[in-house]
């Protein structure tokens, strides 16, 4: 029940990804109607964290629970924590998922020959690449590990 509710909470910057897909949902405890949810940030300064906390509280409160959201930093989040389903979703919306496998594939022509335009992209968790084959510029969910 709680897991299903939390599955409705999306990353506001990549709204196809649930917090479980991203690997930032670390767990939850239920005591009566009180739910303690533990999350961890992707990047220390991720500006989406406040929205995510509010969204968690809101979905739980709509279903009659009292929510308490806790942020932990340890063990640190790495891109290896993104689920397989999450990786597939990223690729579907045109964001190249992080390795493994190490090779970055163009989400348009699927060739693995991309150059880095910028190590830092549109959000803290993305870099900007361009396909050397078809020329498509695309976001890459940068590897952190």
């Amino acid at each position: 029940m709680i897991a299903e509710l939390l599955d409705q909470v999306m990353d506001p910057e990549i709204p196809v990804m649930t917090i479980a897909d991203l690997g930032i949902l670390r767990g939850f405890d239920v005591v009566g109607s009180e739910v303690t949810v533990t999350i961890t940030p992707t990047y220390s300064g991720c500006p989406a964290m406040d929205t995510i906390k509010a969204d968690i509280a809101s979905v739980l409160e709509q279903h009659g629970f009292t929510a308490n959201v806790r942020t932990i930093y340890s063990p640190p989040w790495t891109t290896d924590m993104i689920t397989l389903g999450g990786r597939a979703k990223l690729a579907r919306v045109g964001i190249a998922p992080p390795g493994p496998p190490r090779e970055v594939r163009c989400p348009r022509c699927f060739k693995g020959d991309a150059r880095t335009v910028s190590e830092f992209g549109s959000t803290a968790c993305k870099a900007l690449k361009a396909c050397s084959s078809c020329g498509e510029p695309f976001d890459f969910f940068k590897e952190l590990r």
Binding site: Y43, S44, G45, C46, P76, S118, F120, L128, K142
Partner: protein
């Protein structure tokens, strides 16, 4: 209050504020975004550490960030130095990233579990920051005559704040030297020397630049006490 959390929290807050001054003024869009992203990482670390520093006395991170005076800030002098030109910002960031690589690695084994957790996370980010700043040191140093001159000037401008980094952690110095020297060699730059090393940040004695930075950063919070945004 945890002095350690406060010290490192202040370092990250102040350098984040400095980097944020670049937003919309970067030499190109990608670099502008990069500096903004790095600022955000430092700000996130600062928030985690300042919340931790204030939690034992029932205070709030915002009070520490917005309501302390210059003399109460304990950041390293390097962090508060003005941006100068792009090369000078890169020089400051490069020296600081090289320092944070060793620092976070060492603090990730701290007995304070909150600090250890923040450090382990920040270490991953510091590696990414160091990749960015060192690649620019190499590009500018081993670039044109103009970029080289500016990179040299930038490094020599901030070099007098290097010794202060290791006052508390002398053990971190040898690895820092190696890290920095490797990049300088690749950049074909000569390591600066500056016998007039400045210190005092950890005791609240700052260069003239911190006051101006705080005036800008704190003005809204001080003009509208308790305001939320």
């Amino acid at each position: 209050m945890s002095t350690e959390a406060l010290n490192h929290g202040d370092d990250n807050l102040v350098i984040a504020q400095r980097l944020a001054e670049w937003v919309s003024r970067g030499p190109d869009l990608e670099t502008d975004i990069a500096l903004g992203n790095i600022a955000l990482d430092h700000l996130g670390v600062a928030r985690a550490l300042l919340s931790h520093a204030s939690e034992n006395d029932g205070g709030h991170e915002d009070d520490l960030a917005m309501l302390r005076s210059e003399r109460e800030f304990t950041n390293l002098l390097l962090c508060e130095q003005p941006n100068g030109d792009f090369a000078q910002t890169i020089a400051r960031q490069f020296l600081f990233d090289a320092y944070q690589l060793g620092l976070w690695d060492s603090l990730s084994k701290d007995t304070d579990v909150t600090i250890a957790g923040v450090a382990a996370k920040a270490l991953l980010e510091a590696r990414y920051h160091f990749r960015f700043s060192s690649s620019w040191v190499i590009r500018l140093g081993d670039g044109t005559a103009v970029s080289r001159r500016r990179m040299e000037a930038g490094l020599s401008q901030v070099w007098r704040f290097v010794d202060e980094l290791f006052e508390q952690y002398p053990d971190l110095r040898p690895a820092w030297d190696r890290r920095v020297d490797d990049v300088l060699t690749e950049a074909t730059l000569i390591r600066p020397t500056d016998p007039f090393q400045r210190r005092g940040g950890r005791d609240g004695f700052h260069t003239e630049h911190l006051g101006h930075l705080l005036a800008e950063m704190q003005s809204t919070a001080r003009a509208h006490p308790g305001v939320s945004w």
